[in-house]
């Protein structure tokens, strides 16, 4: 029973975590920017989704209410992506190449978005969504109850991974991104606009973060404006564990992190705060053994 629970719930948790970290690794892989504002876009996505579904539900009659979350799920990543690329252009683009300044500016961005959300949505600590789940109900696989929304999250996460891979491998913009990550100057020489591509990358990463936020919130049930730290720490850890800039590594890192949290929370009942610190300790140990993460680029000879 416990083993089956670990396998199935761990997989679902891992896929949501992978979705959370995907945008973070994408923007690092393409531009080398450590965009800590990723956590802010995560929270922003959750709140925009909540606000949009509240807004839309007043337009649709009761029998079409199932359209609302689907519509909101489509509009949310677009809005968050626009905000993300504007944020990138206004702040991070100005300090390109300075690692510490990038980190500080993006962290300030997190707090700015946190305060804006607080001002707009009120100072209550938790903001519960008054929307029906995207797919209400649940089903059972070998004695393990799975909520439909969670299964949907896992499926959409896999689909997004696949479509991102196709986007990078097949489309022109994707190829330009790949070129930028491989050789910045050569890509600029053949006419790739750094500014536009980086803005597109940050838009995509913010959009993916907002989708991840919607599923994460439907898993845990509540969103709060200070959730960005938790989300940031999680996605940062996953990405670092797998190696910065490696999408394969992100997936593996998410699996390790997801299973670690599931195992710790299911077996170590009563451990309380330790459940939150153990994954970090696992990560620190892995990093001491492999300093560039599991699939990161090897330390280049300087």
């Amino acid at each position: 029973m416990v083993l089956e629970q670990i396998i199935i719930l761990g997989a679902i948790t891992s896929f949501v975590y992978a979705l959370m970290a995907l945008g973070f690794t994408l923007i690092y892989g393409v531009s080398g920017i450590i965009n800590l504002a990723h956590g802010a876009f995560f929270v922003l996505g959750a709140y925009i989704f909540g606000a949009l579904s509240n807004l839309f539900s007043s337009f649709f009659p009761a029998e079409f209410l199932y359209v609302v979350p689907v519509l909101a799920l489509i509009v949310t990543p677009i809005l968050t992506g626009i905000i993300g690329s504007i944020f990138y252009r206004l702040t991070l683009h100005q300090v390109l190449g300075d690692q510490i300044a990038t980190m500080v500016v993006s962290l300030c961005g997190c707090i700015i978005f946190q305060q804006i959300i607080w001002l707009v949505f009120g100072s209550t600590l938790a903001f519960r969504f008054s929307i029906p789940a995207i797919l209400p109900g649940n089903f059972t696989v070998s004695n393990v109850v799975i909520v439909n929304a969670q299964a949907l999250a896992a499926v959409i996460s896999i689909l997004l991974f696949a479509s991102l891979w196709i986007f990078i491998a097949k489309t022109k913009s994707g190829k330009a991104m790949k070129a930028l990550s491989q050789d910045l100057e050569a890509a600029m020489l053949v006419g790739v606009s750094v500014e536009k591509m980086y803005m597109l990358t940050s838009a995509i990463s913010a959009g993916i973060a907002s989708i991840a936020a919607v599923f994460y919130v439907s898993m845990t049930g509540a969103a709060s404006f200070y959730m960005w730290l938790q989300a940031l720490a999680l996605s940062f850890s996953i990405v670092i564990l797998g190696g910065l800039g490696s999408i394969k590594g992100t997936l593996i890192g998410a699996l390790i992190f997801g299973y670690a949290t599931t195992i710790f929370s299911l077996t170590l009942t009563g451990a309380g705060g330790l459940v939150t610190s153990l994954p970090f300790i696992v990560m620190i140990i892995v990093l001491i053994i492999r300093p560039k993460g599991l699939f990161g680029k090897r330390i280049e000879m300087e």
Binding site: T91, M103, V104, A271, G272, G273, V275, L287, I288
Partner: protein, 372 residues
């Protein structure tokens, strides 16, 4: 022969401080800060300045580790918390007085800092930033798990440093002078370390680790040293704050404690020792006074505005405010090129001539008007 010593002290002051404009400015600011309690400032503002002094120690220690040695730490709260909890635990279990708990807690914290430094020998750059960011988060989990030792949410109570016989106002003033003197001493010591040979080696680690290794520098030793020194001053700030707030709580390991030194150092100028100090006072002035008392915009909006200001400053002046000011001051000190002086003279002359011509023209017009 006290006169002889006085004269010698004056001569060294004149050559080492008075002739160097940035040092003279720092000296003047220190004197102004030490005169502040005599001006009858209200006690809450004195409290704000006291905590600003404590945070300045933390920021200076962060600057030594990151701005000088290039080991990116985003979890300086681990040292702050180690100092605070060390002192509190020593007080709780052994009942030692202040002058014993603080030094021993500092020693323990240096040990912790060296242990924290060991992973950094292998992990670099953003990876190191994450490891250090995760450390306080992991430590907080332990604090809550062993809450019978660490006191959980409530924390551990402590005594005051100064006896109650000083009175309410006296306590505030004494705390202020204590924090101010500790801040000045730590800044001076860190400045001395940074300008000594060790400091130069730290900068070489920041610039090119491989090259400094090739020059025969023991990189391991100096990295651990940087962590130990930084941890020492970071935990000093924690100890002092623990005694000032009479209680240690898990807030000592909060993410904001890790963020404030980073923000203020970037604001003031990274890699300088005065930068974090300038940044800290600007931060406290804006956060606790301008946006809360002078122009009350509400707690939420004040943080928002402050962060916007920081972002604008970092984007416009990536090298920091403090460095811009000191660059100006050093311009005063260094003898300028003659051509440059000549150029400035010519410019000044032209400007004066233009102004004169403008004035004369204006006078003439008025005269003509008067005549008609």
């Amino acid at each position: 022969m006290p006169v002889k010593y006085l004269r010698r002290a004056y001569r060294s002051f004149a050559t080492h401080v008075y002739d160097v404009p940035p040092r003279m400015l720092a000296f003047l600011i220190l004197i102004i800060l030490s005169l502040i309690p005599l001006t009858g400032l209200s006690l809450d503002k004195l409290g704000i300045l006291t905590s600003a002094n404590v945070i300045a120690i933390l920021a200076v220690s962060w600057d030594l580790l990151v701005g000088r040695s290039g080991q990116i730490s985003m979890g300086h709260a681990i040292f702050y918390g180690a100092g605070g909890y060390g002192a509190a635990l020593l007080f709780r279990y052994f009942g030692w007085p202040v002058w014993m708990t603080i030094p021993i807690s500092l020693l323990i914290s240096v040990g912790i800092a060296v242990i924290v430094g060991i992973p950094c020998l292998r992990v670099k750059g953003p990876y190191l930033a994450l490891v250090t960011l995760a450390l306080p988060l992991a430590a907080t989990g332990f604090l809550f798990y062993y809450s019978d030792v660490f006191g959980g949410d409530i924390g551990i109570p402590l005594t005051r440093i100064f006896p109650l016989s000083l009175g309410y106002v006296g306590q505030f003033v004494a705390n202020y002078y204590l924090s101010l003197s500790l801040m000045a001493i730590s800044a001076l010591v860190v400045y001395k370390i940074a300008s000594s040979r060790t400091g130069v080696v730290f900068v070489s680690l920041l610039d090119d680790e491989l090259a400094s290794k090739a020059c025969g520098i023991n990189v391991t030793k100096y990295k651990l040293m940087a962590f130990a020194i930084s941890g020492l001053f970071g935990s000093l700030a924690g100890c002092v704050q623990a005694y000032l707030s009479v209680r240690v709580t898990p807030d000592f390991l909060d993410i904001s404690i890790s963020l404030i030194p980073i923000l203020v150092t970037i604001l003031g100028g990274i890699g300088t020792i005065y930068g974090p100090l300038v940044g800290t006072y600007i931060y406290y002035l804006m956060d606790r006074y301008i946006f809360t008392q002078l122009v009350p915009v509400g707690g939420m909006a004040s943080l928002l505005i402050f962060m916007l200001v920081v972002v604008i400053f970092v984007v416009k002046w990536p090298r920091g405010i403090g460095r811009a000011v000191v660059d100006k001051l050093e311009d005063l000190q260094e003898p300028r090129e003659i051509e440059e002086i000549e150029e400035k003279k010519v410019k000044l002359f032209k400007r004066m001539r233009n102004a004169l011509a403008f004035l004369i023209r204006g006078l003439r017009k008025r005269k003509e008007k008067g005549e008609t």
